[in-house]
Structure formats: structure tokens, C-alpha cells
Amino acid sequence: MVGMADLMVSQNQSMILCTFPLGSCLGIAIYDPVARLGGVLHSMLPDSSIDPQRAAARPGMFLDTGLALLLEHAGNLKSKKENLLIYVAGGSEIMDETACFNIGKRNYEVLTGLLAKQGLKIHAADVGGLTNRTMQLNLGTGEVRLKFSGQAKMKMLCKP
């Protein structure tokens, strides 16, 4: 399990990295089929500037610091950016015309901006909507699956 506001990168082929239910948070899975490694990040909020102290203690809480660290860990294990496949899930939204409660949407907007800056593209995503999900990355196969709350069957987000 990868905790909330946390991240993990590993080369252990027998592992399945799994998030807790994401809510409006984002789960970001990366997989490098060449270096044969993968990682998962579970971020709650877009921007670390609201609390730099917290970001220093828990970089995974925010998308900017969390994504930077996720990519750094992958880089340390000899992963090349151009080989990375990126998957995103979460960011659920309530029915809110006033946009006062649009944390999920904000998260996804900021993430796409951060990825663009790094020259990275999202391979597959399942974000927004009214349902809570968890995300799993199989490090042996690179498969990403989603479990939707209240539904028994899992969804395959990608099969490389």
C-alpha cells in the first residue's frame, strides 16, 4: 500500500503498488518498461506554496513536490523520462455549480500543467466523475487497474 500523501518507486517485479481510496486526490502511476520499474504517488492538493513546511516534511501531499520526487526517485534508478508511461486516476467531483468545492478539478488542471512542463504526456487517465476509486500498479506487468467504490468488478486502465 502506498499511503495518502505518500509515494513509492520500486523495481521489485513481484509487487503491486496500491493506493487508498482517492476521493478528490490524484493517484499518479509511472511505469518504465525498459528500466522495468514503476512508482505511485497519492497527492491531496495541487500546490505546496500554501504550506512549505508541510511540503518539506511530506512532499507527497502536494502535486508539485510529489511529482518532482517521484520522477527523481525513478531517475535515480536509471529510468529515462522518454520511456515513462504515466497514468492518472482520482479527482472525483461533487455536483457544484458554484465551483467552491472543485478540489478534484483543480488537482487535475495543475497536474497536466506540471507534466507539460516536464515534457511528459499522460498515457491513460480516469479522473473526475461522481465515484471514488483506488488505483493499482502491477510492477511485474505494468498493468494499471482501478477499483470503483461500490462496484465489484475492477477496470483495466491500461495493458501495456
Binding site: M4, S24, S92, T131, G150
Partner: protein, 282 residues
């Protein structure tokens, strides 16, 4: 009101009335609480007492030497803390089970309730309101779901479909399909169980806080904490996010949407408390 009462009277299973919590609530506002009175009230219910002692002695709340004596627990933790543990142990008993009518697995409604209660409490603490009252209202806000779940079980696919196709809230779908919704049913049940009017009103209007009149502040805490718990992933069942945004909840509490990320982070800080309370339904 008659329709709600008729509905409650028609269900096959009603949980036993939690007698201790409303009685303890009467003592909450007293400045000098006689602890023997507290012990006597709680001891009426041996299973409840055992559960409260178990969590008092858990790694999270525990002191060096475990206690098997409620009097000692009250002395050690104080009445306020013991009150919350009693409320939580009572809630766990009612809210712990799976609710197939909503697509909740075993323990999921309880996890949600605890997350909402702890979040509402930290908000009340920060904004200077009665923490115990807020905690209790938040803990019991979805009690009506255990009643409606029995009827929804056979129409669950319909509930999900109605919600998805019409883009309406789950509450609106319930009302359409069953003629009643969980907030009003839960509130009426708490009223029958002699919970104070403030709690009844806050539960009734936890999706529409402005409707709670003089208790709208309490209802707004429950509404906001419910949202935050959902954002943090503690919203279960299919279409869990089919909830209406009510910006007036922010106005009632005198905060702006800018504070939401702050409360999210603070709610995350309480994760250990939340996890300790989860175990009550284990």
C-alpha cells in the same frame, strides 16, 4: 412528518435505541460533572463499557498500565474524552455493518462517519464552537442510511442509474424512489431516541444547512466535514460524490473556500485518531 414515521415503522429492522448517549449529552454542559454519574450511566450497558475500556487501553489512547475500571478511565481521560469514546462505541455498533443498499462494504459507513466526526470536531475547535456537539452530530449524520439501505437493496441498480442519468444527488434519488430520504429519516429516528433538537436539526439538514434555522451552524459543520471526508477518499458506495455544492455552508461558518485545503491537511493530521476509532467496529 407522518410519511417519515410511517416509513420508520414499516422497516423490518430498527437498531436498539442508544440510551446512554442522549443522557450523557445532558451532562456535557454542566461545569462540574459528577464522574460517578457518568460511570453509572455508561455501566448500564456492559458491552458498551467493555468496548470503551478496550479503546481506552489501545495503543493510541493507552497509558502505561491498562485499566479495567471505567471510573479510572474517566479520571484519566476526562469526561469529554470518555464522552466521545462512548459516542463512538455506540455509533460503531449501529454503523459498522455492510449496507448493500448503498454499496457499502463492511466497515465503510463507519469509516466515513468517523472521518466526518473527527474533521467536524477539528473545525469546531478552530472556529470556537462546541466540539462534543459537533462531533456527535457528524458521527450520526448518516444513521438514516441504515434504515433506507434495507429497502434500497432491491433497487440499488435503479438508484445508481437514476442518479447518473438525471445528474441528481443520491438524496434526490432516494426521495424519488422511496418517498423519503436518509437525512430526514435519520433525524426523526434521533428525535425518537431523545437526542437534543440541535443534533436532530443538524442531521436533518446536513445536505442543506441553511434549512436548519437556528441550528444552521451545526448543520454547516456536518456538511463541510462530510465534503472534506469525501475529498479525502472516505466517501463510499457507487456515485458517492453525487452531492450538491452548498456554498452557503461556508458563509454560515464565516469561512471561504480558501480554507478547505487547510482543513484537508488538518484532517489528514488526525489520521491516527481516525484509525483508532475505526477499530471500534472491528
Amino acid at each position: 412528518m407522518q410519511a417519515i414515521d410511517d416509513y420508520i415503522n414499516s422497516v423490518r429492522f430498527l437498531p436498539a435505541a442508544p440510551r446512554v448517549v442522549p443522557e450523557l449529552m445532558k451532562l456535557l454542559n454542566q461545569t462540574d460533572v459528577d464522574s460517578s454519574k457518568v460511570v453509572k450511566l455508561v455501566s448500564f450497558d456492559p458491552a458498551l463499557t467493555a468496548n470503551v475500556l478496550r479503546i481506552c487501553n489501545s495503543a493510541y489512547f493507552g497509558a502505561a498500565t491498562p485499566t479495567s475500571d471505567l471510573q479510572e478511565a474517566v479520571t484519566r481521560l476526562g469526561f469529554q474524552q470518555v464522552y466521545q469514546l462512548v459516542a463512538a462505541a455506540t455509533g460503531a455498533r449501529m454503523l459498522g455493518a455492510a449496507q448493500p443498499g448503498y454499496g457499502f462494504d463492511q466497515g465503510e459507513l463507519w469509516k466515513h462517519s468517523v472521518a466526518v466526526a473527527v474533521t467536524a470536531q477539528l473545525m469546531a475547535k478552530k472556529l470556537g464552537d462546541d466540539e462534543n456537539l459537533v462531533f456527535t452530530a457528524a458521527l450520526l449524520h448518516d444513521i438514516g442510511k441504515i434504515i433506507l439501505s434495507q429497502a434500497l437493496q432491491s433497487v440499488y441498480p435503479k438508484l445508481v442509474k437514476e442518479t447518473e442519468i438525471n445528474q441528481q444527488s443520491l438524496l434526490e434519488s432516494e426521495k424519488k424512489i422511496l418517498g423519503v430520504q436518509h437525512a430526514e429519516v435519520g433525524a426523526r429516528l434521533l428525535e425518537r431516541w431523545k437526542f437534543p433538537p440541535s443534533i436532530v436539526s443538524a442531521v436533518w439538514f446536513h445536505h442543506t444547512p441553511k434549512g436548519a434555522g437556528k441550528h444552521q451552524r451545526l448543520a454547516a459543520y456536518v456538511y463541510m466535514a462530510d465534503m472534506i471526508a469525501h475529498f479525502m477518499g472516505h466517501g463510499y458506495g457507487h456515485m458517492a460524490f453525487a452531492l450538491r455544492g452548498r456554498s452557503d455552508a461556508l458563509t454560515i461558518l464565516g469561512i471561504t473556500s480558501e480554507s478547505i485545503p487547510q482543513f484537508l491537511m488538518e484532517s489528514f493530521d488526525q489520521i491516527n485518531t481516525v484509525e483508532a476509532l475505526f477499530t471500534l467496529a472491528a
